[in-house]
Symmetry: C2
Subunit: 687 residues, 2 copies
């Protein structure tokens, strides 16, 4: 088994080339040693429990998987209570478990929605029950016929004054709640979005706490038809019982309507909320959490791919490749091929940028909530738009990236045992839920259109991240703006990079604004004619902000006056700057036409840009393994035969194959019944 | 159930807008009514047999799925024999079955390899047995340690002169055969690639027919350790038992080496083949078949997506949308959103282009084989390179396209019942097998580098599809070449489009050639430093050829002197020309930087290009449903709740959900064991 130890040797040898302190880098990523420690502690809590073992997952069908999901859910709840864990720790447990469980929406949506939209008495009533899991909840908004368009939900809650109740009705077939995680099997309660109707008048969608299953025997209450919507794409969400529900004149008490903002009195008088968008906070939170999640996902995918491609050798290329002197006669490690590096390393850089984006987004959210709590809604619109743009962009690149990491591994990449297939299947729906990634970009576009107007009237009121709209105020000079890069090194100047992204955003925002104005304005019925351009500007903005935040996070890490947790050593800073350059320039290269179609870049700048990207990619090569080690994903979490930390890919792949249940039989099931009759159809054959 | 019939009404109404004859278009796609008829007949053969019913597939685990795969395999074999079906009909059966079965490599590789590499006597011995399924074969090339790099396979076949045998050995752990479809359970024989060794001398990889399992009882023979490698990514290839095998001094007779080209005599004398690349033919065939398969896949994906997005309504947009007058008060059909059209319609155009490419590629293959049979190898290099470039490009866009079609459908797109998830899982490995899509592009690049040289010495010897290299012969004038488009309509001129693609190919080929020369030539050790550029030029070439072939196929369909099967009506031609324009211009737009970075396009051309693409996309809108109907994919084949031909998406999705086994129980499995103890941990709760 010589090759096996060659795998290990290869990875070990690659590690020796790391020229920065991996621990230091890990601390930078997670915000200091205390966080790193806590994350390890929590992952270990999960790894130690047999119920979270992942070995038999690939062979579970949906029926068995949901049962497992239920078992895992209840254990997760118990651990949370036993150890009195907070939300971040809960998120880390879910990260470690690495699957979507029936109970997730209880903590992820049911509790937060009651907390943010319930009155004080309602919070006092429901939250303690929910926190002790005496009730289990889910979040039921989407219907068979409606998801994106909330305003057309068809479920109704009609006030019945005689009995002081709401009557919940699925008025039509398409009003059936659909896709609701936790509804299929586990939940006892749901927060349900339904149109509030009083005396025939429709007040639009409101939120109600609806008992679904009996606390005595878990049977659904009469008047509710409930079930599982069936298996999902790519084997994803297999342990989750996304459910449907139809309500037939189902009654709940009036006080089950969440009444922090809107209220309905005993005599049926409706009071509307003081501000229309106060409930946006929880959406911003969910999106901010998603961005951090994408950082964790893409960093895991690149970890697996980087390690395997370091030990995979294919083709003899006895050249200057830096391993040949040490390993004469061996084939080239595929990670040495420029094409492999060109596909993989920008995703490592992206993972780092996602970590930075996740932190800043979370800070913005906290800032927003602090403001809101003192009645300040100034930043609401900006934070809402930013989180929408970032959610759309980050979930898009993470899903595409996971599949690219899998494909990078060639044939063995198509094995379940890479650990990546399961991941991709879990990531892709994030492009759809919490707001479809295309629909969502219209939020950022609307925001920027307002900023373009503000720039013309009160330029000092433009918010920081959209200051670029000021660049295009003078149309003539903007039309002749040209990129300042004169020599190749100029590309490495962060200020130049930012100027380049700002130029693009300014142009796209202004073009969109002109087009919308020409067509009659934002509120005109032609708004949707611009949705291609909304998507373009929103992603351009997201890229700009990602580049900016990554640059800023490195500046902070370099700042001797910053908090100790934020600082990093000069060696780490040096490689982070390379990653940031790679991230910025590769993003530009991927979208190069956006910078050339108005002649902002000239041909020689294009050439030098490509050359810089190529040389930055090459400059990461020796550090790649160290950079992914720094993500600090333990083997339990990776659950990958190809990407384990010891590099022993072939041995693990072999061992995994031996666990295949089919291999327990010498002759396959189906031989007597099917194969033998076929083989013998034309008589006995002796060879 | 009002909405249900609205679904149907919506699709029916969309059909009324079709302004060409769908049958006529179907005939164009499949090459005449006889082919269409035959395809329908064959699909129906499969649809009628209960064993090919797809309803319970999502709930099968790998163990059950393989058993099903075996049952389906044997029935497939029987039908082939009963009806004496040819290879194309066999392919259509496989298309209709829509899954990868253990037996596929028997017909897809085992038989073709023996036919092309066996001597006449060997063909006479093995082929009749194989055709009557008295033996079942597979194709065993890849090993745990080697796939792309054939030359380093580690399995050996050592000549044992005393007994006139070969001794097959897996010399090392990584020599284990791996990924071999059919090896895990079903096969009795394998054609095995192994290094031929005589008297200590290594003659490189050769092909041997190796008995794997006993014809008496199907037990693997002593000396062979064989099994299934385990589940695959995304639930793909679930019914296929891709297998592994290790050989331990396993003996087979000398005459089991396939000896059409190379030979070994009784006394161990080795005779080498007359020409090194004679075995390329079967690779070209497999790749050509793949291109047609991609046309079928992407056309299915766009069919499903187009139909569902026609019946899905979301958001009120009571504008000029052409359905509102007929359906007042209803929301907009999401297919009316420009962003949806912009994502979807170019893929319909691509599907049509893929159909054309599949046919031409197959004709090229037949031409090649005709030539070869009379000793003419002139076109071998070109056809080999073209099929490599096309395989890489077409499988890439088909896989990405299938996932995009799924994502286009929003939330319901993530249900298994779309029919698309299963498809994507089946397509993605095509990016890896038959030559990894990145490695493969080096074939085209090498070919073009030779063409660049030929252009300089004997320009009249340059082959037709690479004639563009002549454009760059005069460096100076080429550097100043500018796109000729002056007004928007110029973009619609096929000759202009082709000139644009030719310019790009000429530039990239010349740049690559210069870079390779500067680094010491193609055979130098720095060759792999250019593999990013190899990928770029190969895909650019593939796009050029795809655009060209689609244009040519329409010209032929318009030609009154062409075969009747190739002709189409003026109405069909008109819409085909729009599709061809969209395909060409959208491909340019997607790769816009390639045309701007050398200032070949100027800013106003970029603007008018984008405007043209937008208007072409819009111009397809009314025809989209007719265009996908023309693909002629019956509901059995689509196996999609959302994309069925009657449009009844919501009803079908509902009905499918009711078949979920979890829904047979009122209270879920796991309640007593897990949920109840959790709920009751803090005592009984009465609410
Ligand atoms: C795994 C998963 C879990 C979920 N869990 C829950 C849950 O627990 N609770 C819950 O309530 N919901 C849940 N959902 C539902 C989810 O929130 C919705 O599916 C999502 O918001 C998308 O809405 P939709 O399905 O209506 O998409 P649609 O709006 O139908 O989208 C279809 C297509 O139309 C396009 N489109 C729509 N409108 C426009 C427009 N105005 N302009 C341009 N293009 C447009 C979209 O881009 C998309 O391509 C879940 C969904 C999934 C996949
Ligand atoms: C579903 C499936 C079915 C299969 N069925 C069979 C079968 O029946 N019989 C059989 O014999 N085989 C089979 N195979 C194996 C398949 O043919 C190989 O996996 C495939 O050829 C890729 O080779 P690899 O795995 O060695 O990839 P690798 O070469 O290991 O690729 C790994 C990575 O390195 C890159 N790379 C490698 N070399 C270079 C280079 N020179 N320059 C730049 N980049 C490079 C690749 O692009 C890729 O990203 C099957 C595979 C799959 C997935």
């Amino acid at each position: 088994m010589a090759q096996t130890s060659q795998n290990k040797k290869d990875l070990a040898q690659a590690r020796t080339k790391t020229n920065f302190d991996v621990t230091d880098m890990t601390n930078y990523l997670y915000g200091g040693p205390a966080n790193v420690e806590q994350r390890r502690y929590i992952i270990d809590l999960i790894a130690r429990e047999p119920i979270f073992n992942k070995d038999d997952w690939p062979w579970l069908n949906h029926t068995d998987a949901v049962k497992r999901g239920i078992a895992m859910s209840t254990r997760l709840a118990e651990i949370k209570m036993e150890h009195e864990l907070n939300d971040l720790d809960f998120a880390t447990m879910v990260e470690a478990i690495d699957d979507t469980l029936p109970i997730l929406l209880h903590n992820g949506a049911f509790i937060p929605v009651i907390n943010s939209q319930g009155s004080d008495e309602q919070i006092e009533k429901w939250i303690p029950l929910a926190e002790k899991y005496q009730i289990i909840g889910c979040y039921a908004q989407t219907e068979l016929g409606h998801g994106s368009n909330l305003s057309q939900l068809e479920t109704t809650a009609t006030f019945v004054q005689e009995t002081d109740e709401w009557e919940i009705n699925s008025t039509t077939f398409t009003a059936a709640k659909w896709w609701i995680g936790g509804l299929g099997a586990i939940c006892t309660h749901a927060v349900v979005q339904a149109k509030l109707i009083i005396a025939g008048k429709d007040y639009g969608a409101h939120v109600f706490v609806v008992p679904i299953r009996s606390l005595d025997n878990h049977k659904p209450f009469p008047g509710i038809q409930v079930g599982d919507i069936g298996p999902k794409a790519y084997g994803g969400f297999n342990k989750m019982e996304n459910g449907f529900a139809r309500f037939n004149k189902y009654r709940i008490p009036r006080e089950n309507m969440l009444m922090r903002f809107s209220k309905v009195s005993r005599d049926g008088v409706y009071t509307k909320p003081p501000h229309a968008k106060l409930s946006y906070g929880s959406m911003v939170l969910l999106r901010s959490v998603l961005i951090r999640q994408m950082a964790l996902y893409l960093s895991r995918a690149t970890t697996i791919s980087t390690r395997y491609l370091t030990v995979r050798r294919q083709f003899n290329n006895p050249t200057k490749r830096n391993d040949t002197d040490i390993n004469p006669g061996l084939e080239t490690q595929v990670i040495n091929y420029p094409m492999v590096q060109n596909r993989l390393f920008p995703m490592i850089a992206q993972s780092y940028a996602l970590f930075a984006a996740g932190s800043v987004m979370m800070e913005m959210y906290i800032g927003l909530m602090t403001g809101l709590s003192s009645g300040n809604i100034d930043t609401l619109a900006e934070v809402h738009a930013t989180s929408s743009a970032l959610k759309s962009y980050c979930t898009t690149i993470a899903a595409a990236g996971a599949e690219e990491c899998r494909k990078l591994m060639g044939g063995h990449g198509y094995s379940y045992f890479t650990g990546l297939a399961h991941m991709f299947a879990s990531i892709v729906p994030s492009n759809t839920y919490e707001g479809d990634n295309y629909v969502l970009t219209q939020q950022m576009a609307r925001y920027l259109l307002k900023e373009v107007k503000t720039a013309r009237t009160t330029p000092n009121k433009v918010t920081p991240y959209s200051k670029y709209v000021l660049l295009a105020l003078n149309r003539d000079s903007f039309a002749h703006a040209r990129c300042s890069v004169a020599k190749a090194e100029d590309w490495l100047n962060p200020d130049v990079q930012l100027a380049v992204f700002e130029h693009r955003c300014a142009r796209l925002a202004t073009e969109l604004s002109d087009a919308v104005d020409a067509a009659g304005g934002m509120e005109s019925t032609t708004w949707s004619d611009h949705n291609i351009e909304c998507y373009r500007i929103s992603h351009a903005h997201a890229q700009y902000v990602m580049v900016l935040w990554f640059i800023q996070s490195i500046r902070e890490a370099r700042n001797p006056e910053a908090d100790e947790e934020c600082r990093a050593s000069p060696e780490a800073i040096a490689i982070l700057e390379r990653l940031s350059n790679l991230h910025a320039l590769h993003t530009i290269q991927t979208n190069l036409a956006d910078f050339t179609e108005d002649a902002y870049f000239n041909p020689s700048q294009c050439q030098s840009l490509r050359a810089q990207v190529k040389s930055l990619v090459a400059s990461i090569a020796d550090q790649a393994v160290g950079l992914v080690d720094a993500f600090d994903h333990p083997d339990f979490l990776l659950a990958s035969a190809l990407g384990a930390s010891d590099g022993d890919a072939y041995q693990r792949l072999w061992d995994k194959a031996q666990t295949e249940p089919l291999n327990r039989r010498e002759v396959c099931d189906g031989y007597e019944e099917y194969i033998r009759p076929l083989l013998k159809k034309h008589g006995e054959l002796k060879l």
